[in-house]
C-alpha cells in the first residue's frame, strides 16, 4: 500500500536526508522507512533517530502540544512529513474531549480557562458555531430557549456588572479584556439592546476612540454591522458613509 505519510515534498532545508532517500526508495519499502522513522521519533528509543525530523526546535518535548502551533503555523509541510491531516483534525475538529488538553472536570472549569486564554480556545472552537449552541441548550446563555434557561444569574449582580458607575469588574472592562468570551454566550441582539444608537438601542457607544475617523472603509466593504445599530440617517453615522 502506498504511504499516506508523504504530502507535498517538504522543504529540503528541513528533512533533506529522508526526502532524497524517499525519491530513491522502492515504493514497497517506502512506508516501512517512514514508519520506522516515525516510531523512532515518537518512542525516542534511538538517540539518533529521535532527532529526526524534529531537529532545530521541532523536537516533541513533553510540552510540545502547547507549543506546536509555532511549528505547524509556520511550516505545516514539515509536520506533514510524519503526520496526516487526520491526526490534526482528531483534536482540532474532534468530537471527543482530549484529556491531555482538557483534563479532569473540564466542563466545570472551562469558563475560567476561556476567560484567560482565548487565543488557545479559538484554535479549535469558534464561539458562535461551537460554544453558543451548547450554552443555549444548557441554559447559561440569555438567548437560550425558555424551557432550559437557568434561573440563576451567571454574571455578578446587575448593580456591579452593568449599572453605572463603571468600576473594576464592570462588564465594559471585562469585554475589552476578552471580547471573545462574551461572544461565546451572547448573540448580537443582546448587545444591540443597549449599544445600538438611540431609536434602536440605548445609545451607549461601544466604539474605540477615533473609530469614526476610520470606519468609512469598513462601511464600504460591508455595511451590514453598521446598519444593525444605526439607521441610515443617523447623525453620528453619516460621517462613516
Amino acid at each position: 500500500m502506498k504511504s499516506t505519510l508523504l504530502k507535498w515534498a517538504p522543504p529540503l532545508s528541513i528533512v533533506p536526508a529522508i526526502i532524497i532517500a524517499c525519491q530513491h526508495t522502492p515504493r514497497a519499502t517506502l512506508q516501512d522507512a517512514h514508519t520506522r522513522a516515525y516510531d523512532a521519533c515518537r518512542a525516542g528509543e534511538d538517540a539518533g533517530s529521535s532527532k529526526f525530523p524534529c531537529k532545530n526546535g521541532r523536537a516533541h518535548a513533553p510540552d510540545f502540544f502547547e507549543r506546536h502551533k509555532f511549528v505547524a503555523a509556520d511550516d505545516s509541510q514539515a509536520c506533514a512529513t510524519c503526520h496526516t491531516n487526520d491526526e490534526c483534525v482528531a483534536c482540532h475538529d474532534g468530537r471527543v474531549r482530549p484529556r491531555s488538553i482538557h483534563p479532569n472536570d473540564f466542563l466545570s472549569m472551562h469558563a475560567i480557562e476561556s476567560q484567560r486564554a482565548t487565543e488557545r480556545c479559538t484554535s479549535c472552537h469558534r464561539e458562535q458555531s461551537f460554544c453558543l449552541d451548547c450554552h443555549q441548550r444548557v441554559g447559561v446563555s440569555m438567548s437560550g430557549p425558555g424551557s432550559v434557561r437557568a434561573s440563576g444569574r451567571f454574571h455578578p449582580p446587575k448593580a456591579e456588572w452593568s449599572d453605572p458607575p463603571k468600576r473594576p469588574g464592570h462588564h465594559a472592562y471585562e469585554a475589552q479584556r476578552n471580547l471573545v468570551a462574551c461572544v461565546s454566550c451572547h448573540i448580537e441582539r443582546d448587545c444591540v439592546a443597549c449599544h445600538a444608537s438611540r431609536g434602536i438601542g440605548g445609545g451607549i457607544s461601544p466604539h474605540r476612540p477615533g473609530f469614526a475617523s476610520a470606519c468609512r472603509s469598513q462601511y464600504r466593504r460591508n455595511a451590514r454591522p453598521c446598519l444593525v445599530c444605526h439607521q441610515p440617517g443617523d447623525g453620528a453615522f453619516i460621517s462613516c458613509q
Binding site: 513533553p62 479532569n104 472549569m109 469598513q218
Partner: protein, 496 residues
Amino acid sequence: MRGPALAFSLLLLAPLARADSYELTSDTTTQFYDVRTPTGVTVYTRRRLTTTLGLGAYDLLPRDGAHGRAPDLFVRARLRYDADVAQQGGFADPRAVDEFVPGFAHGPFDLMYAYLEGRRFLKGCLGFRAGRQYTIDPLGFWAFDGALVRVTTPYYIAAEALSGFEVRGGLPLSSGRWETSGAWRGSRADVDPSLYPSFQPASIAPAFGGSLESIGIGPLHAKLTYRRVYNTGGSTLTQFANALDQARVYDGTRLSHERIGGTIDASLGDVIALRSGLVYDAYNAGVMQAHASADAFVTNSVTLSADYDYYRPAFDADSIWNFFGGEPMNYLGLRASVDLTKQVSVSSGAYGRLFSINEATTTTSSLPTWTAYTVAPPNTRPFDGGGQLAANYRKSTLSAGLRGSLNMGDAGHRVGGDLYADQRIATRHIVSTRLSLYNWEDTVRARGTTSLAYLLGTGYEFSPKSRVMVELDHAMNSLVGHRFRFMVSLTLAVAP
C-alpha cells in the same frame, strides 16, 4: 442517515476500481455521561454517538517505475455522523418556541473532507487538490470546497492558488467549525422570519487566496498567505422590530474576511531556531495575531526557549463585534526542556499574559451621565501569570507522564495536574490510567472547587490500525458531585 451514507459510498467506491491500493477506515465513539448537581439532580444528559467513515484510494495512475518521481493521483475522503440521542426533540423543532435552539440538528452528517489530489505532475512541478479540503497555514485551520493548485519552481519558491467556497454550517453536509468567528449562521428553513433575527441564514461564501513559500533555501523558510472570503445572501438587520423600526434586511455580496499571514523561520545549525509570524486583518486594518519563538539548543539534551504571542480578536465582517472595543492580549513565556535519559524528558516554564483596557473607550457614550459615573479600574493592565511542568517516560510498551499547570490572575486561578500511564501488555492488550487533581476559582462567577478525577481504560488491538477501547472517567467535586463518563471507541482500518 442511510441516504448520505449511501451516496457517499457510491461516490467513493468508484475510484476503488482504478486504485492499486486503498484503505477503508472508521472511528466510532459512544459517550455516556450526565451532568449533575451535588444533590444528584441531573442537569443534562449526553448519549452521544460519533462515527466516521473514511476512504483512501491510491495509485490511480499507472506506475512507470520511477518511484517517488512519477505523477501520483489519489482520493481521500471522510464522512462523519455526530448524534446526541439524549437531546430533547424540541431543540431542533422550530415550532417548539420554548425549546428550539436555532442551528441545532439531531445527528448531522458532515463531509469532513473529500478530495482528489495530484502530485508531481509536469516533471514534478505541479500539484493540486480538488474537492472539500482543509488548509493549515499561517491563517490557521480553514476548510473550503474548491481547487488548490501548487506550482514548485526550480527557483527556491513554490506558489499556491485556491478558489472555491468556504465550508459553512447550515449548508448540506457541512459544519460551521471553521467559519470565521462572530457570525451566528445556519439553516433558517422552517424558521419564522420574524424570530431569531440574530441567526443569519447560511449562504454560499465565495473565496480565493494564495501563498508564496520558499523551498530549499538552507536554514531559512518563509511563507506568505492571503485569503479573501465573501458573504452572500440576505441578513436581518433589525434585532427588535417594532412600529418605528420595521424589519430591515441587508442583501448583496460583501466581505466576510480578508487576511494576510506571513511566517519566517531560521535555523542556525544545532545552535538556535527562530520562528515568527503575523496575521493582518484587512477589514479591521490591524494586526490580529503575531508570534515569535526562539529555541536555543544549549546541549544535545537541553533546550531553552522563549515564546511571544499577540492576539486581538477579529470577527467576520458581518459581525457587530469588530466595532466593539476588544483590546489585545500579549503573552510571554520562558521554558526549558531537558532529556534526562533516552526515556525521560522534562519540560518546565513560566509565562505572563498581559491584557489591556482602554479607559477612553469606556467613557465614550451618548449618555453624559455615564461619563460622570465612570470609575477607571485601578489596574488598566490586568496581568495573568503561571507556569507548567511536564514530564514523559517512554519505553517500548509503556508511556507515562506528568502534566501540571499553575494559572493565576485577577480573574481567578486554576492549579493542578495529571499523572497518566499507558501500558501495552502481550503486544495487543492496552491498559490506560489517569489520575487528576485540580483546584480552581472563577472570581467573575464567584465559584470554585477542588476536583479529583481518575480514568480507567482497557483495550485490544486487532491490527496496527484497528482497536477497541473502553474507558470509565469519574470526576468528584463539590459543584457537580460525581460525574461519570463511559466511553467505547472502535477504530477499524481495512487495506489490501
